[in-house]
């Protein structure tokens, strides 16, 4: 343990969002495999077709497995918290990352809603700083929670700058 667990969790629906994203990737991999392998098979390059088909199929299968497993793990290991002075986000299980962004250094607070997120009623909230890699984001919050978070982050960042 390096830093303690953040207090707040994402909206559980984010698991569905991530699952759909993984399945989308799997579908893409499968589609590309078919598009490449079928003409190969037709042009009698059987070995190449088998290699491509097997490789692509395994990749797609792996992505499907990830789609089942990863969202639950990632959800369980994602936490965030807003304190007096900063936004704290911890994520990941194997490759774990803890980020602390002080409110005083926040340049923008933004929200993002893709079509899928809109369908699920989720919002992703991000903060940016003067450092390109120094920001962070909190994906998959319920709309009301996200509104409150944006409000609070903007207020705290603004207070620091305004006074």
């Amino acid at each position: 343990m390096i830093l303690r667990e953040p207090a707040l969790k994402l909206d559980p629906r984010v698991q569905r969002l991530w699952m759909v994203e993984w399945i989308g990737a799997a579908a893409l991999a499968a589609a590309v495999t078919v598009v490449v392998a079928v003409p190969l098979a037709l042009s009698e390059s059987d070995v190449a077709a088998v290699v491509v088909g097997l490789g692509g199929g395994l990749l797609a299968l792996g992505l499907v497995v990830l789609a089942v497993v990863q969202p639950r793990l990632a959800y369980r290991r994602f936490g965030y918290e807003v304190t007096e002075l900063g936004l704290y986000v911890a994520r990941g299980r194997l490759w774990r990352r803890w980020q602390v962004v002080p409110h005083a250094r926040v340049q923008t607070v933004d929200t993002k809603r893709g079509p899928l997120e809109r369908y699920l009623g989720l919002v992703s909230v991000g903060v940016t700083t003067a450092s390109a890699k120094g920001g962070t984001n909190v994906p998959g919050l319920a709309v009301e929670v996200a509104d409150g978070l944006v409000e609070e982050l903007a207020r705290r960042a603004g207070i620091e700058e305004g006074t």
Binding site: I2, W95, V100, T129, S131, L149, E152
Partner: protein, 492 residues
């Protein structure tokens, strides 16, 4: 014809040449490709016509390019077909660099590069391709004056104090120890190999063949050849260093650091002292043996990608560097003992140094390439002392004033950093690190200054460093006995 205030100024006509060069570079390949497709009789008139059109466009481009400073904004208008206007508020300008490539120097001109912060994380660079040297200086002063809030307009620059001047000898030694030119012979061979197919009649093969025939095969001859090659590479290295850093001078006018250097292209970089957030010392094993280091500024707004802008001393003796450091940042300290990292970090450094060549060696062995495998095994063996030294160099410290981090062996970087420069913090831990109880602390710096990391420290060290760096912010996250605080109020 130095333009005052708000009059629109045009670039020096030499800019036409600069524009033309850019245009030729952009269009040479398509033009050549197209020309090959033409009928032979059409090639010469066609190319002449294109040349005429190109010349007209370039001249028009120069005619339409105007700049002015108006209401504390820099306004650049340009464009032949599509007219564009760029407006940059002066307080967004982070740096101005004057450069004088040789043609500019002959005509007494400079190129002005303006680095500006665009909205968000992006940045933009504006270039005035050629203006008179005096106008360049005036522009620099006017543009940078805007970065400072309400201040009396500066009269002639206050007396400059030279902090460091690189002598001929140290530049030569610096070039010899830089290691930068070790790859030069390889590059030459690569270029030759590329051209070999294009030259008529197997020219290169003939030359190589006759060279091979005449090449000495006895021990004495080969060693003589090797000595000549080494001397040649050394001469190249020294010459390169002299060319780039000739008469290097770092001066301080109280508020800005000015670094000037270069033999053919004379460059000068101005760094606002307020933007210098730390100092990097960089060296290599060879330079360590000679007691030499390079000094770089950790500063925002220097355009992180471009190398060489933040150089405060290309090569300097360690004692002189200590004195220079005292001048640049009295709080920076290099003699404080650094906290060593856990022994597990040593294992990790060594494993990582030998893993890749060892794996490749196994592959080569499996493929039956014995010579390749042998070479890779030697590389892997070299990785052991390399990894050990990388571990020895690892360290960090915080004396309440400056954070110090050090890592690397072949290029060692020793950074002294003002904690005020840190924009945000993160801690990263891979599964391998987790098994050894290690992690990496990353300190993100603003505006192109990048980040510095504390590599492979123990979890306790990471927590302790973070809490000491910013207790009010980070102290609440450090592990305490209480499990979870009450949910922070989202609504006030």
């Amino acid at each position: 014809m130095s333009p005052a205030g708000s009059t629109r100024a045009r670039l020096h006509p030499l800019a036409i040449v600069v524009f033309a060069r850019g245009m030729i570079r952009a269009s040479i390949i398509p033009v050549v490709v197209v020309a090959f497709a033409w009928r032979p009789t059409f090639v010469v008139p066609g190319l002449l016509a294109l040349l005429g059109i190109g010349a007209a466009i370039v001249v028009l481009e120069w005619r339409r390019f105007t700049y002015r400073i108006e209401a504390s904004r820099l306004i650049i208008e340009r464009g032949v077909l599509r007219h564009t206007t760029r407006v940059v508020p002066l307080d967004r300008i982070r740096g101005v660099e004057l450069q004088a490539p040789w043609l500019h120097r002959v005509l007494g001109l400079v190129r002005v590069d303006v680095e500006a912060a665009a909205g968000g994380a992006g940045k933009a660079e504006l270039t005035l391709a050629a203006v008179a040297a005096a106008e360049g200086e005036r522009l620099r002063r006017a543009l940078l004056a805007g970065t400072r809030p309400a201040e009396t307009p500066e009269e002639e620059t206050a007396s400059e104090r030279v902090l460091y001047r690189a002598g001929l000898r140290i530049l030569v030694v610096g070039g010899l120890t830089s290691g930068r030119y070790i790859l030069a012979p390889l590059a030459v061979i690569g270029v030759l190999a590329n051209f070999a197919d294009d030259l008529p009649g197997g020219f290169v093969e003939d030359v190589l063949g006759s060279a091979a025939d005449r090449a000495p095969t006895d021990v004495l001859g080969i060693s003589l050849l090797a000595v000549v090659a080494v001397l040649l590479a050394a001469a190249l290295a020294a010459a390169g260093s002299l060319l780039a850093d000739w008469d290097f001078e770092l001066a301080d006018d109280g508020e800005r650091l000015v670094a000037r250097r270069g033999l053919l292209t004379r460059r000068s970089v101005v760094i606002d002292r307020a933007r210098v957030r730390g100092i990097d010392l960089r060296d290599s094993p060879l330079r360590r043996a000679f007691g030499l280091v390079g000094v770089h500024a950790v500063a925002s707004g220097l355009g992180g990608g471009r190398s060489g802008r933040a150089v405060l001393a290309p090569v300097i003796s360690t004692e002189a560097a200590r004195a220079l450091l005292g001048e640049l940042d009295p709080d920076a300290r290099l003699d404080v003992p650094l906290e060593p990292h856990p022994v597990a970090a040593r294992t990790r450094r060594v494993v990582r140094a030998i893993a890749l060549p060892a794996a490749l060696a196994l592959g080569a062995l499996a493929a039956g390439w014995l010579w390749v495998a042998g070479g890779l095994l030697v590389l892997a063996a070299v990785g052991i002392p390399l990894g050990l030294d990388r571990y020895r160099q690892l360290g960090h410290g915080f004396d309440g004033g400056r954070v110090t981090v050090r890592e690397g062996s072949l290029t060692r970087r020793w950074t002294s950093l003002d904690p005020a420069a840190i924009v945000s913090y993160s801690v990263e831990r891979s599964p391998f690190q987790a098994r050894s109880g290690l992690c990496t602390v990353v300190l993100h710096l603003g505006q192109g200054a990048g980040s510095r990391r504390v590599l492979d420290c123990s979890e306790a060290q990471a927590t302790a460093l973070l809490v000491r760096l910013d207790a009010p912010l980070l102290g609440v996250f450090a592990i305490t006995s209480e499990p979870r605080p009450s949910r922070p109020g989202l609504a006030p």
